[in-house]
Structure formats: C-alpha cells, structure tokens
Symmetry: C2
Subunit: 207 residues, 2 copies
DNA sequence: TCATGTGAAGACATTCACAGCA
DNA sequence: TGCTGTGAATGTCTTCACATGA
C-alpha cells in the first residue's frame, strides 16, 4: 500500500500535468515537473515507481501516458459521489471550485437546515435537508462527506454522517471530532493553517 | 528548530486545550489529550518536550499553564496582521471563522477588485483594492497572506503579494504557484483534499 | 551526454519501554 | 499504582549516487 504522503504528491502531479498538458512538448522531465510542483526530481521519480509507469531516459515522461497511469491509479471506473454538509461559504466555495473539474468525482448532494437553501440546485448540485442525509447517502452510495457546518453543530453532524454510512470526512469545522474507529478524518481548520504559516514565516524572516 | 509536523500538532493541542478549558478538572493527562486530538500519548509527551513545559506524574499537565507555555511558544508579543486576498466565498469564510478567535492574530486587510466589495468593513476587516496591496502591507507590517482568488489570476496575484513583502502564503487557489526562493507556500486546494480522502476511504472500505 | 530507475545511505519521526517520582 | 520524561529502538521518508540505456 501507498503512503499518504506519496498519495498526496501523486494527486498533485496529476494537477500539475493537467495544467501543463497543452503547453510545450508531449513529454516532460522529472526536473520540469519538479520545478512546477515544488518537489524534488528524485522524489518524483521515486513516487512514480508506485504507479508502475516508466519514462525513458531520452525523453522523460510522456504527458498523456503518465496522466493516464495516474488516473488509473487514483480513480475508480465509475463516478464517485460525494456529499457536502453545510451550504455556507465553505460549502459553496467547494461546489463552485468543483464544477466540472474532476470527471470521476462529483458532489451529488448538499445538505443544510436553512429552509431558504433547500430543494434547489446550487452550483449544479441538489440541496436537501440534513434529515435526508441517511436516505440520500444510501441511495447515491455516498461514503465521503465534506463537513462545512458551524463549530457548534460539527460533532453531532459528524455523528449523523457516520450513521449515514460515511467513513471518510473532510472536516473544515474548527473542532476536534471524536468518532468511532474506522472513520477517516482529515482536518482542514483554516485558522490552524494561518497560525502555522505565521509561525514558519516568522522563523524564515529571522534569517 | 522545531519540525513542521511538530508545529502542526502543538497548534492543534492548543486548540484542543482551549475547547476543554472549562470542562472537568484543572489538569489533564497525556492520554486524555490524545483521545481528543487524535494523536498518541507518547507523541504528545515527546512534542511537549520542545516547548519546555513539564507536567507532573501525579496530575498530568495543568491546563492553564500548558496553554500559557503553548501561547508563549507559538505567538509573538504584539498582534500580527494578516491579509486576505480575494473576498469570495473562501475569503469570507476565513474572515467569518477568524472573528475574535485568535487574540494574537488578526486579518487586518482584505483585497479584491470588485468595486462593490471595496472600502467597506467585511466581518470586521477593511476591504481595499488590490492596487493598494503594497502600500497597506508596508503600513500594517503584513508578511503573511491568504490567497483566495480565482485560479485564472492566482499566479499574478501571488507575484503581487511577494512584491508587497509577503513571504508566507496560504494558497487556496487550485494552481501551482511558481515564486522566488524564500517564499513559503502552503497549498490547500480543496479538490485535492477531496481526491485524497476519496482514495483513502475507498482503500479502508476494501478492508 | 543526460535522464531514468533504484539499491543503499542518510535523515527524520514515532513508538517502545522503563527509571523515577508523587 | 500510574503517570511523566526520555534514551534507545524501530519505522518511515527522502536523498544520494550510480549503473543502465537512448
């Protein structure tokens, strides 16, 4: 099995390649990919061992073929459905960014409690009341959810997600979720991120 | 110097402690902190060595004192100003979350280009036209910025940030920024995060 | 010549396990 | 007894450096 870090970088390489797809030659060297993606060329070569795609010393990697290998490794055959819980700023930012960007991944349902936001199409996705979470997740075979609700209701909402069969949660609420074993949580508290950068930037500046 | 991972966890411990501040006893054991924050107790004890705070085998850590040590380690004396560039959904989500949450950190300026959003107070922060970036950053001594603009203008905006003296960037745009050495970039592409969770969750489900 | 793929080395991070203490 | 603090061991990740091939 691949490590989380390796996975993150592979996903990043795919994005970088997509951006470079139309530009320049058909092929790309590891050091070019390195320059754009911010990792070292040795790291890239090592990472690509995991997906079994080989380049050639003469021309490097063929962009189209490498993309194909990355897609095969990262995606499933069928489109996967994902839910957004909370139609506030973060939820809407996600919906907006997502629109048509990833062919194998779609936000097929959005949940909220505000009557004004219910039963309509928001950036291409249908909105539902949170009480329908379980039913819709079953119906649409959803196992991944993005939690973007206010801190005050984050824990109870996360529990509802787990009860609805979700076992991968991307958590934007600034709260420590305590959930059963086997549920994968990735925390993305924006404030913590700012605190981190502030600290690092301060250290750098001390030269 | 502390490592990035260690730093992330220390920041997390602080958030966990703040949440637990009023609950239960005055002190807390490493395994309790572990349960809430999701790390191992050995990890926590090891991490706390870095900030030089010692607990007692009898009572564990005193919450108030540990918080004080963490604050001293993580914060500066004076309040630090941070800029948000882009007043769309993400920018506003950040402003909203931030309000009054961190005493030593404030979003003192927001930049955009939309005339409708300029020269007003948005969630407690003043908004300016992007052309004023350099002047305001100098004036307010800003060295950290959160980039939350559309992908199409992310690279040029990032360059403006660097020109304005910013050397720590939290990047929410789904774009590979290419910037001079010495600028610290932390990428938070939401789509990549969803792709990662989807992959991991799928593997877990295969049991 | 110059880039890939990779064994081996090195750096880094986490966990173990236990002495020491209340 | 049951915790902390920490050397030592283990585990993981990244980089080095070079054989190989176009």
């Amino acid at each position: 099995m691949i490590s989380k870090r390796n996975l993150e970088r592979l996903i990043q390489y795919r994005r970088t390649l997509l951006a470079l797809q139309e530009k320049g030659a058909d092929s790309i060297f590891s050091h070019e990919l390195a320059h754009c993606s911010g990792f070292s060329s040795a790291q890239i070569r090592r990472d690509l061992m995991a997906i079994g795609y080989s380049g050639s010393p003469a021309h490097g990697y063929n962009k189209r073929e490498l993309l194909k290998s990355l897609n095969e490794f990262l995606d499933t055959e069928e489109i996967e459905n994902v839910a957004v819980i909370g139609a506030g700023h973060i939820g809407r930012a996600l919906l907006h960014y997502f629109q048509g960007r990833r062919p194998k991944l779609q936000i097929s349902a959005v949940f909220d409690v505000d009557p004004e936001k219910l039963d309509r199409i928001m950036y291409g996705s249908h909105t539902y009341h949170i009480d329908q979470l379980s039913a819709i997740c079953k119906e649409q075979n959803i196992h991944v959810g993005i939690l973007a609700v206010p801190a005050s209701v984050a824990q109870e909402t996360a529990q509802k997600m787990v009860d609805a069969g979700i076992h991968g949660i991307l958590n934007y609420a600034p709260v420590d979720l305590v959930l059963p074993e086997g549920v994968y949580i990735e925390n993305r508290d924006m404030i913590l991120a700012v605190e981190k950068i502030t600290y690092i930037s301060r250290q750098l500046n001390k030269h």
